[in-house]
């Protein structure tokens, strides 16, 4: 039977587009179907207010795999990430801490709070670089399948074991600590000042339904050190034109290799016959067939909505129902008529060009989490804010600015039930603006436009089940050979010829592109397409 397409990819997020590009590059006929009018999924830029281009959901880039940029020639297709120079922490007592790319400058800033901490930084970086090296060997390859007794898998396991063993007992132990400890406990191994630990620890909780004291949150701290290993001087950056810029670069690359991309083409379900995916059925009733189908959607949506329970074996159904996606964050995007200045460090300095953390103390962060545990959004939330328009003038009219606030915690499952989120949306937005206004006098008068996204909205608009920005919690039982399901962790699903390439696959969330790349490579290697 001749098919028009070798692969249909459901979802035009960055992973779907990357997967399409890799397949198209070697001559496969690929069709990408995106439900919305705009590509990018969670890595999307939208002009929501005239002249203001928002990175609606995902807002900074750090872990995008550099070899993908090289292999797909993404720079030619518009990929441009401008590094961030500073991490800024305003404090309610009028003080503040800025951490800079310049180590001496950072040291002096930190020394105001703890001289010891200011000097330990290089030692911490050194150890984290070791750990990051290890993590790199994990995220750049498909996860070895532990359940298999195949000699190939055993060897892979042994090789991985050897890499770990060669670290020596101390680093090996540290690695265990990194994987299992709370972000705060891990930082306690080095640092004493809360003013430093609080803003550092939050990178462990972003996107998770955990607090900085929750075991298992430490390893995300690594992300800050991965950038370095990839040969970049600084790890975090803004994508030119918003994070959608990355998705557009991926889309352009895919198109240049001959992939076909359709927007406003919402897939209703995967066409499954005899346990084999044969194509997709669109919402408008059109049937499109292909040799393979690849889902960029989260595992829950893929298995339960696109495939449907009736096509799943009992044990698969049981396992997919165990997959956890409790979303915990929201987003408030503001268009402002001027630069927001902080009362604790007035002026439009370089400190505004990085990220701004509202994380004044450990107790503050933990209390924010406590509320979420009981089904409320934090009334004193952790906020990670950026003003990308200070670095990339293309996203706002001259003199005007964007303040983009990532907010935690906003649990998907509020007490009243997730479907009641719309009733609380305004209150949530006000909480965030009020909190920011405590540090930015006059903020409320600067606002030209406000977009509030609750986890419910993330689900409705972007198709992220339960508003989970990583397509599934990043806890150990949902990582590696268990992401998303044990036995189906190598991009294959339990349905023949149906594959997955989203953040719900190894190595997980963030704008990495690894899922899309590794899925395409796995398919090509196994001659599935």
């Amino acid at each position: 039977m001749s098919q028009k397409y070798d692969a249909i990819i459901i979802g035009g997020g960055h992973n779907g587009l990357i997967c399409a590009a890799y397949l198209a590059k070697v001559g496969r006929k690929v069709l990408v179907l995106e439900k919305r009018h705009v590509l990018g999924g969670a890595a999307v830029s939208e002009e929501l207010h005239p002249g203001f281009t928002f990175s609606v959901a995902s807002y900074v880039v750090s872990l995008f795999r550099p070899h993908i940029i090289r292999e797909l020639n993404l720079a030619k297709h518009g990929y441009e990430v401008i590094p961030m120079d500073c991490s800024f922490l305003p404090l309610p007592n009028g003080d503040s801490l800025a951490r800079w790319a310049d180590p001496s400058r950072s040291r002096r800033e930190i020394a105001r709070f703890s001289k010891k901490d200011s000097e330990v930084y290089p030692e911490f970086s050194k150890v984290m670089t070791h750990m990051g090296k290890l993590a790199k060997t994990v995220i750049d390859y498909p996860a070895p399948d532990i359940s298999s007794l195949h000699p190939k898998e055993l060897k892979a396991l042994f090789r991985l074991g050897k890499t770990f063993k060669d670290l020596g007992p101390d680093l090996l132990h540290l690695n265990t600590k990194l994987i299992t400890m709370s972000a705060l406990d891990f930082l306690d191994l080095w640092f004493e000042s809360e003013v430093l630990k609080a803003p550092m620890s939050v990178s462990g909780i972003i996107g998770t339904f955990q607090g900085v004291r929750s075991p298992g949150t430490a390893y995300v701290l690594l992300h800050h050190y991965m950038g370095q290993l990839d040969g970049a001087f600084r790890s975090w950056g803004f994508s030119k034109g918003g994070t959608g810029g990355i998705s557009m670069a991926c889309a352009n690359a895919a198109k240049s290799f001959g992939a076909e991309i359709r927007t406003e083409a919402s897939v209703d379900q995967v066409l499954v016959k005899n346990g084999t995916a044969q194509g997709v059925i669109l919402e408008n009733g059109d049937e499109l067939t292909a040799k393979t189908v690849i889902s960029n959607l989260d595992p829950n949506r893929t298995y339960l909505k696109m495939v449907g329970e009736n096509h799943l074996e009992d044990d698969v159904l049981k396992e997919i129902n165990r997959y956890k996606l409790r979303g915990s964050s929201g987003k408030v995007n503001l268009a402002l008529d001027r630069v927001p200045e902080f009362s604790c460090r007035p002026g439009v300095g370089e400190h505004l060009k990085g990220d701004v953390a509202i994380a004044p103390s450990i107790d503050y962060l933990e209390k924010a989490f406590d509320q979420a545990k009981y089904g409320e959004f934090s009334t004193r939330p952790y906020i990670n804010a950026v003003i990308p328009s200070l670095t990339d003038p293309s996203v706002a009219p001259p003199g005007k600015h964007i303040l983009s606030c990532f907010v935690q915690y906003a649990p998907y499952h509020i007490k009243e039930g997730a479907e009641n989120w719309p009733k609380h949306r305004d209150a949530f937005g006000d909480t965030v603006v009020d909190t920011m206004a405590e540090y930015i006098p006059g903020l409320k008068d600067m606002i030209l436009y406000k977009q509030v996204l609750t986890p419910w909205d993330l689900e409705q608009q972007m198709g992220l089940t339960e508003g989970n920005i990583f397509q599934g919690e990043l806890t150990l039982e949902q990582l590696l050979f268990q992401r998303p399901l044990a036995g189906y962790a190598k991009y294959k699903t339990s349905i023949n010829k149906l594959w997955m390439c989203g953040s719900g696959t190894h190595p997980g969330g963030g704008i990495m592109g690894a899922g899309g790349e590794l899925c395409a490579k796995s398919m090509l290697e196994s001659r599935a397409v």
Partner: protein
């Protein structure tokens, strides 16, 4: 210097006694030094009210390992075991109660009164536990693998041993790998629906660690407890100590009470040469086995400049944040519950995830719980017709905001009793009490920050316990060994750190 010993054992708790006896039985000349006037450490019974005795700080004896009992001939020395796992009652408010018996079918019936689904789920749960028990016991009964010396060959052995996991069968293995890192709340939610049953079952998962049921990796702690838990000792820890003492004496261990150690003495090359007692007396030996906590051993018993910084840093960051208090209550009548069965000795409260979580929150902010989670033992000695309640109280911090004033202690005691009242009407019958805050525990038992296990049972503090350079019981100080709860397999009354520590001494 007085006469020379093969080994000096510091601390006369269950681990110290075990270590000393194992060594003496192999012909070593051993002296055991105990700071207090009684043996037993946390296992020593204490009279807290005339005629009313606690069974010791910890009261569970179900985790003591069989081969230790056998090797020390404890049964010959008066140890009697019950032959079965203790029955534990999970209490719910308003008189609800489910009892987990040794006899599974009885347990299932007890659960069935509340939930048919849970009754079936419990069978599956036990069957899972039974399948993984050999694996867990295998790990907990042996000294951990020597990471420092591990070669490729050892690694291959380890990978193959890991594949021993595969002997469990693929399904069980995958399930184990899936659930071990999970939070106990997620784990039990997947299986059970009755709130107070889940809350009660989750107890052992959070004891002695700075976690709540929703913390990752707490399932692993529950599984370990379930797999190790076997028959209880009749009479509780006190009787264990009595038989250990007899075994030690029989084996020729010289026991010195009221003898605190001031310093472990080292020679020029930082090798152990003996100890100096509080009274200035010096005892000579090339080997010292310390059953004290790692921080006590390295920070108080060794001169500050004698240890390298990496060791100091490691021990300093061996997390041991005490979160448990102990309340003893003397009652003028036996303790009763509506649905009470008189064979019961252990009770656990919790009632719901929400309440457990609310009990946990304050400790993060250096406060104790309004409504704490209670782990209760009814077996303490009491005069005829009276009762003794031994209650482990979670959570109470070592460093309390504002300090442990009398006012604060009174408040905590009140909180415990008010909590208890919601499960049973005991209020009028209390005739005496003793509250030990983590600070009191630290003082009485020399526990670091009052931590009942010498250090938290967190994943990174298992196996490599307390730190990699000491995980084989020997330490970077030549001749100094650890044999307390700060070593693998950790705290609780297992006697294993003492047993394995002694084995390490004999091996070297």
């Amino acid at each position: 210097m007085s006469k020379k010993y093969d080994t000096i054992v510091i601390g006369g708790g269950h681990n110290g006694l075990t270590a000393a006896t194992v060594l003496a039985k192999k012909g070593q000349k051993v002296v055991l030094l105990e700071r207090r006037s009684v043996l037993g450490g946390i296992g020593a019974g204490e009279e807290f009210h005339p005629g009313h005795w606690s069974a010791g700080l910890l009261h569970e004896t179900g985790s003591i390992r069989q081969h230790a009992i056998n090797e020390l001939d404890l049964k010959k020395h008066g140890l009697v075991t019950t032959g079965e796992r203790a029955s534990v009652a999970m209490l719910g408010k308003k008189g609800k109660c489910i009892t987990l018996y040794n006899d599974e079918s009885r347990t299932v019936e007890s659960i069935r009164k509340y939930s048919e689904k849970d009754a079936e789920a419990y069978k599956a749960y036990r069957s899972f536990i039974n399948k993984i028990t050999p694996l867990i016991r295998d790990i907990m009964d042996q000294a951990p693998p020597d990471l420092v010396k591990m070669g490729n060959k050892d690694l291959w052995q380890l990978v193959k041993k890991g594949l021993g996991l595969k002997k469990l069968g693929k399904a069980t293995m995958m399930e184990f790998l899936k659930v071990a890192p999970m939070s106990v709340q997620d784990f039990l939610d997947e299986r059970f629906e009755t709130e107070f049953l889940k809350a009660g079952m989750a107890g052992p998962a959070i004891y002695g660690s700075f976690t709540s049921p929703r913390s990752a990796y707490t399932t692993l702690n529950l599984l370990i407890w379930e797999c190790l838990s076997t028959e209880e000792i009749v009479g509780g820890p006190q009787n264990l100590i009595a038989s250990l003492q007899k075994a030690a004496e029989q084996a020729g261990v010289e026991i010195k009470l009221n003898n605190s150690v001031k310093r472990i003495l080292l020679d020029q090359d930082r090798k152990v040469k003996g100890v100096q007692l509080g009274n200035g007396e010096e005892i000579e030996s090339n080997v010292v086995a310390s059953s004290c906590s790692p921080s006590e051993t390295f920070f108080n018993l060794i001169e500050p400049n004698q240890i390298e910084y990496s060791l100091e840093h490691g021990i300093e960051h061996f997390r041991s944040r005490g979160t448990t208090a102990k309340l003893m209550l003397a009652l003028d009548k036996p303790f009763t519950l509506d649905e009470f069965e008189n064979e019961l000795q252990f009770l656990r409260t919790g009632n719901s995830w929400l309440e457990m979580e609310k009990a946990y929150d304050p400790v993060k902010y250096r406060n104790f719980s309004n409504e704490p989670i209670l782990d209760i033992y009814l077996g303490g000695k009491a005069p005829e017709g009276h009762g003794s309640l031994s209650i482990l109280v979670h959570y109470a911090p070592y460093e309390l905001e504002g300090g442990w004033t009398d006012q604060a202690k009174k408040q905590l005691e009140e909180n415990v009793i008010e909590t208890l009242v919601q499960y049973s009407s005991i209020k009028g019958s209390i005739i005496g009490s003793e509250l030990l805050t983590p600070v009191d525990l630290a003082e009485r038992y020399n526990l670091p920050f009052g931590h009942i296990f010498h250090g938290e049972h967190a994943v990174d503090q298992m196996l490599t316990r307390p730190i990699p350079s000491c995980m084989q019981y020997k330490t970077p100080i030549n001749g100094l060994y650890l044999c307390g709860s700060g070593s693998h397999p950790g705290g609780g009354i297992t006697c294993m750190p003492g047993y394995l520590g002694a084995k390490a001494i004999l091996k070297n």
